[in-house]
Amino acid sequence: MLDSLLSDLRGQKQRCTVYRSGEPTEIERWLATHGVAIESRSMPPGGPDPFIELETDGELVGIIGIEALEALIEPPIRRPGERAEIAEGYRVLFEMLEKTVFTGMSRRDFLAVSREIEDRAFRVGSGCLQVAFQTLSTMKSQTSVYRTLATETDLDIHVYAVEDWTPPAISGITYHTEAAERFEPYWALAYDGGPDETQACGLLAKQHSDEYTGFWTNDAAHVEEIGTALSSA
């Protein structure tokens, strides 16, 4: 089920075309090395700064200057407060980028996104947070983070991992080790947003040797799919 969620999103045809007169832009190279189909068109010198056309399934999403785009997509997940101020058009752009499956991602990339999700769950303080850690020993270095999450909030935390280490019993955390082998290649987080669905966020990544392929999302329906896949073990 996690696999089909990944391949469903990969099936969406995202296409980006950069218009520029000079060398490839940094973001263009980044998108290209992370599995996003990207083309470029040559502009004559003396024209505008580079800009990018974004399409999903052949439909235009928007056209935006590279400089403005770079400012927008860092960090990967915007805080909800900022999102409220973002115009409708940008939401469409975020939705497109959020549903983009990136390849060749490092552990660090997804660790940063995981921190954002845990941080948001902590600030909301209630709801359900599901985490697939691959193996329980991976959780070792995060024990204090999860102890804080469990004891200082009303969060209901579920950890899915293969048992290769015995974690401390913490009230508020339920460990699921049976049938966790099937999740072993996956790194997944799903936070339902508690009382506020707009706070839902999640990530799903699959490990291939040292690299990960995956996506992050603020879309409640996708978060729910990740959560359902984990809890149906």
């Binding site: 068109r41 024209g47 505008p48 580079p50 056309e53 439909e59 235009l60």
Partner: protein, 131 residues
């Protein structure tokens, strides 16, 4: 790589007394009396031919870089309508492009280097100075 386009080439001297007749044509200046039309010609000077949609994308993107905001499908649609009903027919009437229908590619006419130079300068003059 594009060095051959820079500066004066072998025709530089010989054209001094050889001004193209289009430079005395009112329609030529009317055709250039719009930022959008000058930009269309500037882009075509690089690619020579383009679809109407591609031209609309270029004009939208150009605006996006100036405003720092995103251009939405409706914005491009509006520009595309203006191209089809106004800008492209005018450029064609002035003999600067070949434009037959909104579904056919738009093509730059073979233009005198002096005319190309005016188009290039008109666009470069509106770009903010980076220095």
């Amino acid at each position: 790589m594009k060095g051959a386009k820079e500066g004066s080439n072998q025709t530089g001297q010989s054209i001094s007394g050889d001004l193209p007749p289009i430079l005395a044509d009112d329609e030529f200046y009317q055709a250039l009396a719009s930022k959008h039309r000058r930009r269309v010609l500037h882009y075509l000077s690089e690619v020579e031919r383009a679809t109407v949609e591609e031209l609309a994308t270029v004009l939208s993107g150009w605006e996006a870089t100036e405003t720092g905001t995103m251009q939405l499908p409706a914005d491009r649609e509006q520009i595309q309508l203006a191209l089809v009903h106004n800008h492209l027919p005018r450029l064609a009437d002035a003999g600067l492009i070949v434009y037959e229908s909104h579904t056919a590619p738009v093509q730059l006419e073979s233009l005198h280097p002096r005319v190309m130079e005016i188009i290039r300068q008109s666009v470069e003059a509106e770009q903010p100075d980076d220095s």
